[in-house]
Symmetry: none
Subunit: 201 residues, 4 copies
DNA sequence: CATGAATGAGCGTTCATTCAT
DNA sequence: GATGAATGAACGCTCATTCAT
């Protein structure tokens, strides 16, 4: 057999693309390496050249998306403060999940309930953003923008609220994104007694 | 002289107990039927006499807990109406998850990300309670107790909020249950503009 | 498929028989589990039910033969002493190798040059018998039957001499066993200055 | 300005050196081409430029050492005859094995038990020297230096004796070389009734 | 000549499921 | 009803070999 090499430098990307597709559709355990192989027009050997094993290939996808999420949020809140920053963080998380359906499904669904090496992954990402939000919330409380609340509980509740609505949207496509944006964000902010002024943003 | 005759229901229960224990600790895929066999002091054959296969054994546990949840909530809201009923429903869901740590873990974690035959299960349970809550919320809105909101978004956001806080508690034991109860419920109610009166249960 | 079970208790033996046959013909690495499966009229699962892995299956054969060798020699020398005992030990080793061609090939050829878990096996067996012989030789020296020699060197040289002649016989069938018996034993005994009396034994 | 042009023989040697090292340490099957690559600071392609495949690379080492052995023995016995020639041949074989520990291990251990293409190799080398010795022995018998013996059995027994003592020394370093030299050679010669005169080299 | 990414046939091992006892 | 030895399809992973650069 001749080695068809249409774009030598991109083998790794082609693998990641195919893996993202198959993993997000079938989940970790129902994904066969052979499916990724054929979908990526590479070979088993290539996968194992670029990734140590199936698990690490999966985790590479999760990490890749977690990093993207982090970057987006960090950029978004760069010049904001107080509740505006909280709002931007939440908004960016929702928007990013919405924009990247398949990575979102991998992080929020397929990475759940796996064994020890994975389990912490989703929780780690969640905790990271929850802590970030808790921190900003506390600042808003200290600044007197909102009344005191249990920021730890609030931040994790918010992450869960976002996750669940997004997961449902990932699966069913409902409710439509505008409705989510319009309904979810005010709901979260209202839960800490922060009413957005009409016409803002 | 009477022979020792094993109580059939007893065997089935021993299997379910062992399955609950192992599944909740290791998850669906990392659980070997052999582990359930040894933990239940039964046999492979017994498991396959009482359950058609591994999948159905797992689902039996999920169903069992979903039914319990349903019963508890139904009882709790029997004589209430309006936002009081909403409050009771949420409260009961949280309380029941808290009381049954391992079944909660199975429903909220281990049943996630499995193949088609499973994932409908978790989503079905979630949807069921979300719809129930959406329905009661709508009544409260119609009754003028709270301002109009997107009940579909709200109910799924609430379920997610509860799930995530509970999942974290299942894993880490934090925050302590009283704090969850004190922090989460008011948060959810406040998110639809419903302030509990001081002193109210 | 129905489970054909002609002799339920003998599955393990059938596996060992087939393994002995295939391993002795092809060597450890060139033996495929599938070949043992078909030759044993069992299944892959059965092999892994009775043995933890390929390596241990192979070692079971080696150990089995090493034990047999030990037993034979021990019985043979039970009531002898001095050089007569030495002679009997050597004779029994040669005779047993000759009688069990395939196990001999496994121990003397196929178990050589494998990785760490095996390597010591052949050496261990060799050392064991060499030490035994060295011990008896020393007694014969102390008793004045033969002149002093380096018993450590002698015993290992003897084992090697026997091994090599047997290995050649295993491969080529030459020289014929009587010639080996007639030529090898006197050679070894003469090497320590012990001449057998004509007509003895 | 002259370009740096790698000496082709140098590359080939580096590969052989690395191969000798790794093969002698890990054996044929446990050696990965990648290990030889890194140890030789060359590349996969280089190995396949200089050798047709792994097997031939291994055999090149065996042949190289067999040739050396042959040369040494031939030189040593050039001007001798009768039992003196036999003694010199044996002595040179032992001395050469002792001097080249790693090649000896490859020939005597790692080349054993491999598939058809190899095992003829080790056996061929053994047979070659055995026949050479058998031939010289026969001459000594014909010349009346020693009593008649089965030269075929004797020569293979001798090779085995030497091999086994050397193999043990290769693994354990025991017994020390002088003891081997002092003990093994007289033992072999005595086995055919040839007593060295005191004071003789 | 040298390089190393790419290939893919091949194999050991797992484990849910079956069924004779 | 209970038991556990037996089954075999299925899969992750290895590694010698190739060849475009």
């Amino acid at each position: 057999m001749t080695h068809f090499r249409p774009d030598p430098e991109n083998t790794r990307s082609r693998i990641l693309d195919a893996a993202l597709d198959v993993f997000s559709r079938k989940g970790y355990h129902d994904t066969r390496l052979d499916e990724i192989v054929s979908e990526s027009t590479t070979s088993k050997g290539s996968i194992y050249f670029h990734f140590p094993n199936k698990e690490q290939l999966f985790l590479a996808l999760v990490d890749q998306f977690a990093d993207l999420l982090e970057r987006r949020v960090t950029e978004a809140i760069a010049r904001a403060s107080g509740m505006a920053r909280v709002r931007l963080a939440l908004e960016t998380v929702i928007a990013t999940f919405s924009k990247y359906r398949r990575p979102a499904k991998i992080l929020l669904v397929q990475a759940v309930g796996l064994g020890a090496p994975f389990e912490n992954k989703r929780n780690a990402v969640t905790d990271h953003f929850a802590q970030m939000i808790a921190c900003y919330l506390q600042e808003a409380i200290d600044a007197g923008e909102i009344a005191p609340v249990d920021v730890e509980v609030v931040s994790h509740a918010w992450m869960g609220a976002i996750y669940n609505v997004i997961v449902r949207w990932v699966y069913t496509g409902e409710p439509e994104l505008p409705r989510i944006m319009a309904g979810l964000l005010p709901l979260l902010l209202r839960s800490v007694g922060y009413e957005e002024k009409i016409g803002e943003q």
